[in-house]
């Protein structure tokens, strides 16, 4: 099979392709020759110790790293076949396709309704009925609808931490992204809110491609289909989650998941 054909095949079966990705913060290299394929409509977890590059790679997928001065990327990132670093790529379009949920929930200081409707309105949607539909559907998908349907016009800032995070997920979903990136989405939440977020993530599976960065190994084990382990800026191994946590093929992975050092 030619490289060309291979790429075409990959595009059909792979949501995100990172090819020979090297990333630099100024002089410091943070990622080394990363090659990874993210499967569509499944959940992939990135794990590894602090500073291993997992968040950096995640942020390469929607060019979020560019807001940091002095960063440089080499290599390709393809989202369903489109090179996201190609000249002329519109960041708004990219970030609509690749949504992101952060560690700390960041609702806009406006009503719950306006938070969710923000993205569609930005893209010019004015039809009230359509917006209502999007708000309801997104809140239902993020499992928040029952809790907020009576108070959509109240400020989003009044919600609890866990609810705010599910609001942020709903806000991402309102843009109908192809891929959702989550950077430690539950690390600031209590166990019950964490369970709700994890349940939401599982429900979104089969509809969206989700990549989640987490320090919580049990969380990766509980909610992901595939797990990638990073160490010192390199991808050590990626495999089915059950395999990574029971019998990984690399010693480094084994040591990390079982909490060993030396």
């Amino acid at each position: 099979m030619s490289t060309m054909e291979q790429t075409v095949n990959e595009i059909d079966t792979v949501a995100v392709i990172a090819r020979n990705v090297n990333f630099f913060y100024g002089e410091t290299q943070a990622l080394f020759d990363i090659n990874i394929n993210i499967k569509p409509k499944q959940i992939t977890a990135f794990i590894g110790p602090s500073g291993c590059g997992k968040s950096t790679l995640l942020r390469c997928f929607n060019r979020m790293n560019e807001v940091i001065l002095g960063t440089k990327i080499k290599g390709d990132i393809l989202i369903h076949g489109t090179d996201v670093y190609k000249e002329g790529t519109r960041l708004e379009t990219l970030r609509k396709r690749v949504g992101m949920v952060f560690q700390k929930s960041n609702p806009f200081p406006m009503t719950i309704y306006d938070n969710i409707a923000f993205g569609p309105r930005m893209r010019g949607l004015k039809d009230k009925t359509k917006l209502d539909e999007i708000v309801e559907r997104s809140l239902k998908q993020s499992d928040l609808w029952q809790e907020v349907k009576e108070r959509l016009n109240r400020s989003a800032m009044d919600l609890s931490g866990g609810q705010q995070q599910r609001l942020c997920i709903a806000r991402t979903l309102a843009n109908e992204p192809e891929i959702i990136l989550m950077d430690e989405p539950a690390s600031a939440l209590d166990p019950i809110s964490t369970s709700k977020i994890e349940e939401t993530i599982q429900e979104l599976r089969n509809y969206y491609t989700i990549v989640i960065v987490t320090h919580n190994l049990q969380q990766a084990a509980r909610c992901s289909d595939h797990t990638a382990f990073f160490y010192l800026g390199r991808l050590v191994e990626m495999d089915a989650t059950a395999r990574i946590f029971q019998n990984p093929s690399q010693k480094r992975t084994e040591d990390y998941i079982s909490g060993k050092f030396g």
Partner: protein, 225 residues
């Protein structure tokens, strides 16, 4: 390689030691049961039966310890395999202890009657079963899969001896129905020993899983299929 949490290292080390302790107790029970048979020593058989509750008690204790580790440490990878293997090993050891008790009970049953024949194959079979038990425990401690594999292969010899004993006892019973009561009990004893060897094989197979993460149960030890 140590864990970041040294107390966890200690817990795993303690678990290994206590599994071995249970293994040592079972080895002794099995030896004594066989000795009570060959020596027709009813006293030893009774003593052996009396000690079984200690094995049961320790087995429950280790079981609880393993569940605590699973609940509180949430072990992953090799640690997960070690703890789940320990749970299964102690279950098999406890069953071997029961087999030793059953042997002793049959020894008491037949003690009142004259000796049917000199035991030759049963002690041989018991020797192999004991070797297998020892080998499987050594394999567990030293994570030696080659040794575990050897234990699996030995099981065939035990099975061969079992059918030989069966044929021999059958011929006794055919010739003289008065021997049926004794011969049947000796047959049971042979079966118990064969079961002990099976449990040792189970342990050996779990050791292979623990070390390599590969499940070899229900496959042929020689061909691997």
């Amino acid at each position: 390689m140590p864990h970041y949490n040294k107390y966890f290292d200690q817990e795993l080390q303690d678990l290994k030691e206590v599994v071995l302790k249970l293994g040592g107790m079972v080895e002794e029970q099995v030896s004594n049961s066989i000795q009570s048979l060959t020596d027709r020593n009813v006293e030893l058989a009774r003593e052996t039966i009396k000690l079984d509750h200690l094995i049961n008690k320790l087995e429950v204790e280790i079981d609880e310890r393993c569940i605590d580790i699973l609940a509180l440490r949430q072990p992953m990878g090799p640690d997960l395999r070690f703890v789940t293997t320990a749970i299964k090993i102690i279950d098999n050891l406890e069953r071997m202890g029961d087999m030793a008790v059953n042997i002793c009970e049959r020894v008491i049953d037949i003690a009142a009657e004259p000796r049917l024949k000199a035991y030759l194959d049963i002690p041989r079979m018991a020797d192999i079963a004991k070797q297998m038990l020892k080998g499987s425990l050594d394999a567990f401690v030293t994570r030696n899969t080659a040794l575990a594999q050897q234990v699996r292969l030995q099981d065939d010899m035990v099975d061969a001896l079992m059918s030989q004993i069966f044929r021999e006892l059958l011929s006794f019973m055919v010739e003289d129905p008065h021997t049926i009561s004794r011969a049947t009990r000796i047959m049971f004893i042979a079966k118990y020993i064969e079961r002990i060897a099976d449990h040792a094989t189970n342990i050996a197979e779990m050791v292979i899983y623990m070390v390599e993460g590969r499940i070899v149960r229900h496959t042929d030890p020689e061909t691997g299929h």
